[in-house]
Structures are given as C-alpha cells and as structure tokens.
Symmetry: none
Subunit: 246 residues, 2 copies
DNA sequence: TGTGTTTCTCAGCGAAATCACAGACGCGGG
DNA sequence: CCCGCGTCTGTGATTTCGCTGAGAAACACA
C-alpha cells in the first residue's frame, strides 16, 4: 500500500496502515546513525543492532519487514547471521552492505533469493531505493505498487532504470540517474546543493561542491535540450523540477 | 497544529496546545541571547546551553521539539554532541549553525536525515524560517500544516520559493524573498526599518540603513507594478503590507 | 591489458545580486 | 508657498553565484 503525504512524498505502509519496520545492523555507529536518520525520514520505523547476536535478538522482538545487514560484523560471519535471521524471519528481504573490494561472488549467490546488496561507501539514495524495491517486491505492503516516477512528460522507471521524455528514451549514467530520481521524488520542492550532495553522493565524498552543478548541467543537456525546461535554478537556494507547463 | 493569534501572527503549537520547545546550543553568549529573544518572540519556549555537556543535560530534562546546534563548541565536537542528543531524542530535528568559511564543515549526511543548517553570520528570518520548516515536517505539531503565506491575492510558498500575485508568477531574489516573507508574516503591522534590518539582514551587517528602502523599492516594482499597491509607507514609522482592498 | 565510459577537478566566463552613493521627489509643517 | 527632512530610485562598482569546456583520473568491461 502507498499513501501520499501532504507534502507530496509517497510513503510505503503495511496493510494495516502501520509504518514499515526496518532493522539496521552494522558495527560502525556512524553508519547505523546515518542510516537510521535517513530511513526514519522516509517514514519508517527503525531499530539498530551493532553485532550478530544483537541482530538476532532484535529480529525476534521487532519483527522487521526488511533488514539492512553489514556483512562484516565483529562477532560472527555475515552468512552465519543471515542463517540465524532466516530462522527467525523466513521471508524477510535483506539488503547486504559489503566493502567494495570484498569477494562479491558470495554475495551474488545470496541475492538470488530476492535479496539485494550495495557496496560501501554507498549513497543514501541508493540504499533507500533498493530498500523500497525489496519491500515493494516482498509483498509486505499488500499491493505491489508500481515503480515508475512521472513528472510532466518525463518518466523514470526505478526497476528498469529507463528514462524517457515525451516518448524519447534517454540514456543516463548511474549518477545522473540517481540525481534525477531524487529530484523527481521531490517535485516542485527546492532542494539545496547540500541536500543533494548528502543524498545522492556517497557519505565519504570529500570533493568540490560544484559536482552538483556539473551534474545538473549534464541532466539539462539530456532532459531539457531544446525543450521547455523542467529543471529550474533558485539562485542561492537550490534546484527544483516541475512539469514544463506552469 | 497552527493557531492564529489576535495580531494575525500564525503560531505553531504542539497537539496538546502547549508551545513548541526549542533548545539553543552555542558558546557565544551574544548568539544564544539573540536567538533566544527572536525565537521567544515566535511564541516558543526556549532553553539554552553553552556547551555539549550542558546540551545533553538540557535535552534530557527539557525534551525540546527542535534543537539549534552550533557545530563549534568548546568541549566536544558537533557530531559527538549530535550523537549524544540523538540517544536522548531520536526523532528531534536539528538546525546546525556553521561558519561560512569552515570548508563545508563536514555537513555530510546531516541534511539527509531531515535536518538542516545555516551558516554564520545568519539572519534571524532565515533561522526562524528553517526552524519552522523543520518543526512542521517533523510532525511534532500533529498535522503537517501547509507552507503557503497569503495576503490578499499575493501568495508565497516557503517550500518551492514561489511567489505570485493574482496568479502571475513573480521572480524574487533571495533577499527580496526574505524581506517579503517577513512582511507577509506580519500583515497590517508597521515594521520599522530597524526591525527589518535586524530580522532580514545578517547580524553582522554593517552597511547603510537605506538598503531597506532600496529593497522595498525593488519589491514594489515586482509586486505592486501597475496594480493596487499592497506595500505602504508610514512616514517616520516604517512599512506595512496589507490586502489591496481596504 | 587496452579501450571506451564515467566521474570529478579546475579554471574562466558571464550573469545576477547586492549595495553605496547621490540626486530627485514629495509630504507636511511653518 | 516654501523649506527641510524623509523617502525613493537611477547608476554603476563590486562581489557572489552558477554554468560549462577541457582534461585528468578512476573505472568497467572485454
């Protein structure tokens, strides 16, 4: 089930109308904090654990609808934790967090069961999007709702990663796609460069703030090229997207 | 929940009708004083602390609905304070104060959790507006109320930063926008040039007082141009805005 | 390992915004 | 009716902000 809040944000809800519950498992406090904050902002109920034992215990009491699980925990191997979690929650989807250079083969097998993974350092947009996908597909929200964002004649499919405006397909790079998704999930709302940076770039990004300007410029070339512009600058405030008409 | 006072000021209230509580944390006495006064004027209940330990202690007892937190505190790092605060108040939104030149000050991930920040030197209008936005969005006030100010046929949307009169969109610069917001939040009330300067310009502004006249003139050109004027001069007293009719 | 793609830094340009200054304007008192 | 003070606004200097080209570095994939 999905609901649209007064601001226009679309929230996932469980069939009985209660908020979705997510368990976050990571031993780095700063990561659990970061994730908890961002996921809570999505309107979800969050609990966190710092090790495998805590995760299993929390799973038992909290009965989450999805789990974010770091594969590198101090007390037990990621796979062992997964096994124990599965015994408690057989059908709950899991989003794995793994180091970039870690053996990805093992993970590949795991995601076959409908789970998913992202590599550290991740961007919040990526985690949230994957998690939304998992929850949507797991059926925890009753109806399996669509995954297509639309603003004016611009559409973005979160599943197939296809983007088109007025029927013409548009090829975007990964970063461009995430930026556009963030804009489109907040139509008609001014988003500051800081917000965009925090949300679309990985949490360890330490570069120049003008990457945002740069990528906005790329997006405009691909989306607004020769057409009525949809991406607008609010000087000193940020950017917003809205339908061309109006 | 929102209520309209006899003066026409719109106040945020908690669901039980009690005033919103805000904790202000900064080590410079002059800043906490300035903020406390301005925020109290909004009808909020204010408590202040001068360091991290004090902030945590105050959070425990005071249970604020929002926190204004300077990132540069004498006893502990801003992020450390944030962590401790979060343990006490998991869902409370935080408005960070950061020095402009402090190289982007590691804001990473902070705004993504629904928090926000302003740079020093700030204007009071800016702080109040951001804080109102945070509180509104956090849901501490029960229903999430709208963000559109209206005076006569003039409307100003604080979220999208859009302004229009009688349906026609009007483009305003950042300063013009803040000035108009201040006027519109105090309709039919004479605001002196000093008041306006104190509220809309940053606290360290050292320029000529006639910037206010200048910006009023800019606003009139854009808002009153060729129409029944809404911005009026009270010679020797200040300016006020009111609906064209009457 | 090699090639094409993507991400990002750097630097320069141009537009927009802010503000000082000064002269014009006009209200209100004498 | 005229003067003086307060207000308004045109001009232009300066600064800030945003946009984009060029190229380096990192990456992905064969």
């Amino acid at each position: 089930m999905t609901t649209t809040s007064p601001q226009g944000r679309t929230e996932l809800l469980r069939p009985d109308g209660s908020p979705v519950r997510v368990l976050v498992v990571d031993d780095e406090m700063s990561i659990t904090e970061l994730l908890s904050m961002a996921l809570r902002y999505e309107g979800w109920q969050i609990r966190s654990a710092g090790d495998g034992m805590g995760a299993v215990r929390a799973a038992r009491g909290f009965r989450p609808d999805a789990v974010v699980l770091d594969m590198m925990l101090p007390d037990m191997d990621g796979l062992a934790v997964l096994g124990r979690l599965r015994r408690e929650l057989p059908d709950v989807p899991v989003l794995f967090l793994t180091a970039k250079d870690a053996v990805e083969d093992r993970i590949a097998g795991l995601t076959a069961g409908g789970d998913d993974y992202v590599t550290k350092p991740f961007s919040l947009e990526e985690v949230v999007a994957r998690l939304r996908g998992l929850i949507r597909r797991s059926g925890a929200t009753g109806r399996r709702s669509g995954s297509v964002l639309t603003v004016g004649d611009l559409t973005l499919d979160e599943d197939s990663h296809e983007v088109s405006r007025g029927g013409d397909g548009i090829h975007l790079t990964a970063t461009e796609f995430e930026l556009l998704r963030f804009l489109m999930r907040n139509p008609r709302r001014v988003l500051s460069k800081a917000q965009i940076l925090d949300r679309v770039w990985s949490y360890d990004f330490g570069g120049q703030a003008n990457v945002v300007e740069l990528y906005i410029s790329y997006l405009r070339r691909k989306i607004d090229a020769g057409r009525e512009p949809m991406i607008h600058t609010r000087r000193g405030a940020g950017y917003l997207i809205k339908p061309a008409a109006s």
